[in-house]
């Protein structure tokens, strides 16, 4: 019934929908443009050393990351290592979090035993473990990857446990009646049903991962975006510092957009059903 109503409501204009979309995009763009204009005006007037104008930052961004003589080297030397650490840490956390979450979530008893421990470990701010990881693993990439993984595994783990335990009993009953074996049940019922919650965990983890990547690179390293920013600040290259900050913003935005695109594909059914409800 609701589906019919929704179709009829949409019927008068796919054009109308495109119009709404265009308006939404225009609104967002206009806010960004307004922000840039205000920044440009204010910084031109106050003429502060620490707050360069937009054009200056853009020029330095262009020079350092895009088209300058050392842009290629900067990208491969600073940007790529950061990206790999981030993806490595996040990937490790996703594998461990989902596998662990499924294992724990399958049994209520196991969950009740494990929960206090996970709640405690989760409460430790990951940067507090940098000294420990430094001692154990040195200043190499494994230290950073593991720190990122440790910091971001919790939202994935807890959401997976929750998702696995809140699978509709009727889905499981239906599966049993139609002869689904225990091993198939995981792939064909439990994981798809828990996927919305797992993705919610992944989204939270992604934003934490960017933060942890920067922090780990500011503490002990010789390359990476965090290193580039702190290094520029130490040598009073304010423009270089801003170029690094802007690139981090761009990176975070692009990663989030990519994750949302994947989620949109995998969970298209979920967004439709929940929007209708």
């Amino acid at each position: 019934m609701a589906a019919t109503a929704a179709t009829t409501a949409r019927a008068p204009g796919t054009g109308g929908r495109a119009g709404t979309l265009a308006r939404a995009v225009a609104l967002r763009l206009s806010m960004i443009v307004a922000f840039i204009v205000v920044w440009q005006l204010v910084t031109s007037v106050i003429d502060s050393f620490f707050f360069p104008t937009v054009t200056e930052i853009a020029g330095s961004f262009w020079d350092i990351w895009v088209a300058g003589p050392e842009a290629g080297q900067n990208l491969s030397g600073q940007f790529v290592p950061s990206l790999l650490r981030l993806l490595g840490g996040l990937g490790l956390a996703a594998v461990a979090g989902i596998a662990g979450g499924v294992a724990i979530g399958r049994s209520r008893t196991v969950r009740e035993y494990v929960e206090p421990l996970t709640e405690f470990l989760r409460a430790i701010p990951p940067p507090a473990l940098i000294p420990l990881f430094l001692v154990l693993l040195g200043i190499g990439d494994s230290m950073k990857v593991l720190m990122i993984a440790f910091g971001v595994v919790w939202p994935i783990l807890l959401n997976t446990i929750d998702g696995v335990q809140s699978v509709e009993q009727l889905y499981l009953d239906t599966g049993r009646v139609y002869g689904v074996t225990r091993s198939e049940r995981l792939m064909r019922i439990v994981l798809p049903a828990a996927a919305p919650k797992i993705f919610a965990g992944l989204r939270v983890s992604l934003s934490i991962a960017v933060i942890l990547m920067v922090i780990s690179e500011m503490v002990a390293t010789t390359n990476g975006l965090g290193f580039q920013i702190i290094q520029a600040q130490r040598s009073f290259k304010v423009l270089d510092m801003w170029a690094g900050i802007v690139l981090l913003g761009v990176l975070g935005y692009l990663l989030n957009t990519a994750l949302l695109a994947v989620e949109g594909r995998v969970l298209h059914w979920h967004h439709r059903t929940s929007r209708r409800a």
Binding site: M1, A3, T4, E168, L170, Y171, D173, T174, R176, V177, Y178, G179, V180, T181, E184, R188, I189, P192, A193, A195, W269, H270, R272, T273, R276
Partner: protein, 270 residues
Amino acid sequence: MTDTLLQVDQLTHTYDPDGANPYTAIADLGFTVDRGQFVALVGPSGCGKSTLLRCLAGLQRPSGGSVSIDGAVVDDVPKQLALVFQDYNRSLFPWLTVHDNVDFPLRHLGLDAGERDQRITRSLEQVGLTAHGTKFPWQLSGGMQQRVAIARALAYEPAILLMDEPFASVDAQTRAELEDLLLDVWRQSRSTVLFVTHDIDESVYLADRILVLSGSPGTVIADLDVPLGRPRDQIETKQQEAFVHLRAEVARLIQHAKTGERDRTNQPAR
């Protein structure tokens, strides 16, 4: 050619038998269903219908008694049985298309791709959803979703089709359509149906035989033949004297079952 397909013998189930509040949902329940029959089960609410169905479907191990299909005692989920739930909304998988939902149980039957496709096409055709295979369940109305659930059960080609108040959550008009659709499908596929319902009219309209259950703990208190010809018609059949008589009789039996239960629960100590 009457041969017994389903035999339920002294079936008893008690929840929490060793706990503080043991609750016997069904007691000493027995009946048989012949091959090809359409049997309806009615009873007052709380008569243990769900427990009975769960025991039949192998989802619940009964505390006593036995269920046999084709002479073989059921101790796990039987392959020859499909169950259509009342709550189509949560028994169809929203992440699968209509086609894939119907395909879902077929994967476990070891059929080749051609046979699988054939079964899916045929069962979707039987419920009139051929054009909707690529849609998702949530894009369909409630009645259409329940038709998908029926198609899924049909594609499985079960010896017995169990239906747990399948039309209780759709509007009256859709309900009548689905009843006639079910009768059509049943006639074509010559399967055996055990149909649980709260609706007395529905039980008389659909079935060859009606089993009336008592209030808790549930047990069979009447086994009535339905003396109505087929095919049946929503208006014409329901006007017939036999229909009117039988529905009154069933209603009276259920009324009795209810008051009997009330008398028992009013007693201070059990």
